[in-house]
């Protein structure tokens, strides 16, 4: 194991899959000559050439659709959205063409495509650039969605996504690109299955369910809760939103009997709403308290730093919710 950044982990995943399969190519805005808006594709143009690392005009609907068409005839495109806020410009391609094709064609055309890029609020980007899109895409049958929180998960999930024969969204986090973590050596084939949550911290009093950039937030809150409140929190990282690892969720909640879901999207029809529904439906009797959710406030993202902070989930809000379900 060695310590690398989340950005480097994604870069390794891309390079390994490009080297492994000539049908794989990367296409998006500034991915080639600029080396990626967030430097995720650094060095790939030099190594793989302009045929496989392709800069596009600012034309999301066009190049996302091109990816779907290329996938229909057997290529394995990786389409980078500079941020998933821009995927809305290509929404029709992502929600209509990619996931519907298999059904509409009676099983003749599967779409082995990966849409990837940063998702969720970063820092003072304002309303149009701060969207957390997971809850919208999770509503669409035919899409798979993963949300890596660590460098190891970023590498393992992206590699798996590229090899999957269905459209997969890899929702990265801008705020995590420079974060570091331990990852297996470069020559190790790291594949993490979609639909497998991971316990990031064991605990006994409450389960905190999180994903993407709420994982480090949950881990920090769990430390504080342990030290200041003597509450032992278990932190379960979903890693994939769809398919959802219900088994892991139920296992943890059956042990702790209390749940707080901390999510980076909005509260109304957010990911937590579905997770909450599934828990109460399956193991209602195991619950010792109502399930709490910590999400964004239900407003367009303000630019002002103080207001933005008030909108976002935070360790303070999470700790308050945990204390509430623990009646502490």
């Amino acid at each position: 194991m060695r310590e690398i950044t989340y950005r480097q982990a994604l870069n390794e995943a891309l390079a390994e899959e490009l080297a492994r399969d000539s049908n794989v190519f990367l296409m998006g805005e500034e991915v080639a000559e600029y080396n990626g808006a967030y430097k995720v594709s650094q060095g790939l143009l030099e190594r793989f050439g302009p045929k496989r690392i392709i800069d596009t005009p600012i034309s999301e609907n066009g190049f996302a659709g091109m990816g779907v068409g290329a996938a229909m005839v057997g290529l394995r495109p990786i389409i980078e959205f500079m941020t998933f806020s821009f995927s809305f410009v290509a929404f029709d391609q992502v929600v209509n063409n990619a996931p519907n094709m298999l059904t509409m064609s009676g099983g003749q055309f599967n779409i082995p495509i990966t849409f990837r890029g940063p998702n969720g609020p970063a820092h003072q980007l304002g309303a149009t650039h701060s969207h957390a899109t997971e809850c919208l895409y999770a509503n669409i049958p035919g899409l798979k969605i993963c949300t890596p929180a660590t460098p190891r998960d970023a590498k393992g999930l992206l590699k798996t996504a590229i090899r999957d024969n269905n459209p997969v969204l890899v929702l990265e986090s801008e705020l995590l690109y420079s974060s570091k973590g331990m990852v297996e050596p470069a020559d190790f084939e790291l594949l993490i299955p979609l639909g497998q949550a991971e316990l990031k911290r064991e605990g006994s009093d409450v389960t905190i369910i999180c994903y993407a950039q709420t994982v480090p937030l949950a881990l920090a809150a769990a430390e504080t809760l342990e030290n200041d409140e003597e509450i032992s929190a278990e932190v379960l990282d979903l890693r994939s939103i769809k398919p959802l690892d219900l088994e892991a969720i139920l296992k943890s909640v059956s042990k702790t009997h209390r749940v707080v879901i901390v999510e980076q999207d909005r509260p109304f029809c957010g990911v937590g709403a579905e997770v909450c529904y599934r828990i109460q439906k399956e193991i209602f009797d195991a619950l010792d308290a109502p399930i709490m959710r910590v999400a964004q406030e239900d407003v367009p993202m303000p630019y002002n730093e103080r207001l933005e902070k008030a909108v976002l989930p935070s360790a303070e809000k999470l700790i308050a919710a945990v204390k509430k379900v623990c009646y502490a």
């Binding site: 399969d21 190519f25 045929k51 596009t56 005009p57 034309s59 609907n61 066009g62 190049f63 996302a64 659709g65 091109m66 990816g67 779907v68 068409g69 290329a70 996938a71 229909m72 005839v73 057997g74 290529l75 394995r76 495109p77 029709d92 391609q93 209509n96 063409n97 298999l102 059904t103 509409m104 064609s105 009676g106 099983g107 003749q108 055309f109 599967n110 082995p112 049958p141 035919g142 798979k144 798996t160 090899r163 999957d164 024969n165 269905n166």
Partner: protein, 255 residues
């Protein structure tokens, strides 16, 4: 278009009926015909949204150095969709072997071209993307065949996108519920008088390549094929209910 690719009348009609024997197993419907074996890639129903897909297919041909040309059909109503503009720009940029075929039948549902498009002629759109454009008389079989053949030859010599505006007409309403009150009887009759099949028949009989008897026989056979396909569709089974979830995801991954 599916029939032209060789999809059987039975498979087409059964798809219209939503039956398991349809070309999309009854899951696609009238707007979503697919036939992978015969390189029929849809059947797409969000106007213009499939044009980037065609660019992707042409991109794949170039990527794999294959001698294939993608033919992408759309109507005059698609010409103002952003997806079409974006696909034309990308195709021009990458010199993709792709023919944008605009079947201009003068009406997008009930809206005439004059009421929808700022251009005098739709073919002018191609110029903006540095794509050669050709106007074709869609009421003339040979004009369609010859001009498309010329375009295809030139793409085979030097891969590039092309744009063909095929001028045609639709005799019936846009759908079953459309009485087509937005156009005049005179206009309809004018185009009916210019019917491409009638014209082809006249040409071929004049040139003594086909007798009237032979033509009537072809016509009769076509009618019989259509009627037989209706019977086939009626008698075909529904898609099985227990397979409802079988086509949402494909299993497995590329290993």
């Amino acid at each position: 278009h599916a029939l032209a690719r060789g999809t059987s009348a039975n498979a087409c009609m059964a798809e219209l009926f939503g039956k398991a024997t349809g070309c999309s197993r009854g899951l696609g419907g009238s707007m979503h015909f697919f036939d992978k074996e015969r390189h029929m890639y849809g059947g797409h129903a969000i106007v213009g949204a499939h044009v980037p897909l065609a660019a992707g297919m042409a991109f794949a041909s170039k990527y794999r150095d294959e001698d294939r040309i993608t033919l992408c059909f759309f109507g005059d109503g698609a010409i103002n969709q952003g997806a079409v503009h974006e696909a034309m720009n990308l195709a021009g940029l990458h010199k993709l072997p792709l023919i944008f075929i605009c079947e201009n039948n003068l009406f997008a549902m009930g809206t005439s071209v004059e009421r929808s498009t700022s251009l005098k002629e739709l073919v002018e759109r191609a110029e903006g993307y540095n794509i050669p454009g050709t106007v074709i008389d869609g009421m003339n079989f040979r004009d369609v065949r010859d001009k498309l053949a010329e375009i295809i030859d030139s793409i085979r010599q030097d891969p590039h996108p092309a744009f063909a505006e095929i001028r045609t007409y639709r005799y019936r309403g846009h759908s079953m519920s459309d009485p087509a009150s937005y156009r005049t009887k005179e206009q309809l009759e004018k185009f009916r008088g210019d019917d491409p099949i009638t014209r082809l028949r006249a040409q071929l009989t004049r040139e003594e390549k086909l007798t009237n008897e032979q033509f009537d026989k072809i016509d009769k056979e076509a009618k019989e094929t259509a009627l037989a396909s209706v019977k086939f569709a009626e008698e075909s089974p529904e898609p099985p209910l227990e397979k409802l979830y079988d086509y949402t995801y494909v299993n497995g991954s590329e290993s």
